[in-house]
């Protein structure tokens, strides 16, 4: 038997090792936890999105108002 064959034999034996499985109850617990984590992420994204939806027009409107007021003030100063 060559070294190569011996090595292949080792990998073959390793591939034949039995699968180790998790307890079914534990599997469900893990699934429930990552579902919860996923839900938290979705909620966080929704919160960020809704905050952006509110803040964007408020900030845009606010800056526009300041700009317009500044222009009006300048015009009144010139007169």
């Amino acid at each position: 038997m060559t070294d190569h064959n011996f090595d292949d034999g080792i990998l073959r034996r390793l591939s034949e090792l039995p699968r180790i499985t998790q307890r079914p109850g534990r599997t469900e617990v893990v699934r429930a936890r990552y579902h919860a984590a996923l839900e938290r992420r979705h909620r966080a994204i929704e919160r960020r999105e809704s905050a952006r939806r509110v803040l964007e027009p408020v900030l845009f409107g606010g800056f526009s108002l300041i700009y317009i007021l500044a222009v009006v003030y300048d015009v009144l100063q010139w007169r």
Binding site: D7, I10, R13, L17, Q22, T27, A37
Partner: protein
């Protein structure tokens, strides 16, 4: 991933990036047992592996949206699991070269033809498990990734974060080390048997 071609894998990656819950379930069904087995054999402890595999899935949820569209899922998942294991060892200053009693890990083998063959196969498998557990973590992980999990050497090298050439050398050394440990355990078994018969 057992029966998933590259096209389906890429479609799944797309759905994971969109954080589709069904996609996570599909990934979980395909990989949970493999990741768990990998972590049990890497850590040498079922309870630890249960915690680590849970942490792995939580990490998957956090990082899935940042996946590259061409990601290969098996190496990505095993890399997360491996990194979590090493972080766990660092946090507890654990020696990663474990030599443990694997009786607790021993589960039913797949169907075997006869009780006699079953007994001898199980004994051989137990010897392999023990020899594997006695190796340093770096050797153990390369053998687990290629031999048990069937990853291609290039994929396994990516999991370990080393070059393909460095991986090939590490795999070669690990095979030799495992072979020598198996040989040693075989001679010990033979001498025990001869002592018992005399």
């Amino acid at each position: 991933m057992t029966a998933m071609d590259r096209e389906s894998e890429l479609a799944l990656v797309g759905r994971l990036r969109a954080e589709d819950r069904e996609a996570f379930d599909q990934l979980y069904r395909a990989f949970n047992d493999r990741l768990f087995g990998f972590l049990v054999r890497l850590s040498g402890n079922r309870e630890t592996a249960e915690d680590l595999v849970e942490e792995t899935w939580l990490r998957v949820v956090i990082h899935a949206s940042r996946l590259r569209p061409d990601t290969m899922l098996a190496p990505w998942l095993f890399r997360i699991a491996r990194n979590i294991y090493y972080s766990y060892c660092r946090s507890r200053r654990l020696e990663t070269g474990l030599a443990i009693d694997l009786v607790g890990l021993w589960l039913l083998a797949p169907q075997l033809p006869s009780p006699l063959e079953s007994a001898s196969a199980s004994e051989m498998q137990q010897r392999i498990e023990s020899a594997l557990a006695s190796l340093p973590a770096a050797s153990r992980e390369v053998l687990l990734l290629v031999g048990v999990e069937g990853l291609e050497p290039a994929e396994a090298a990516a999991v370990c974060g080393i070059t393909a050439e460095a991986f090939r050398q590490r795999l070669h050394r690990a095979r030799l080390l495992l072979a020598s440990r198996l040989e040693r355990s075989q001679s010990a078994a033979v001498s025990r048997m001869s002592e018992a018969t005399t």
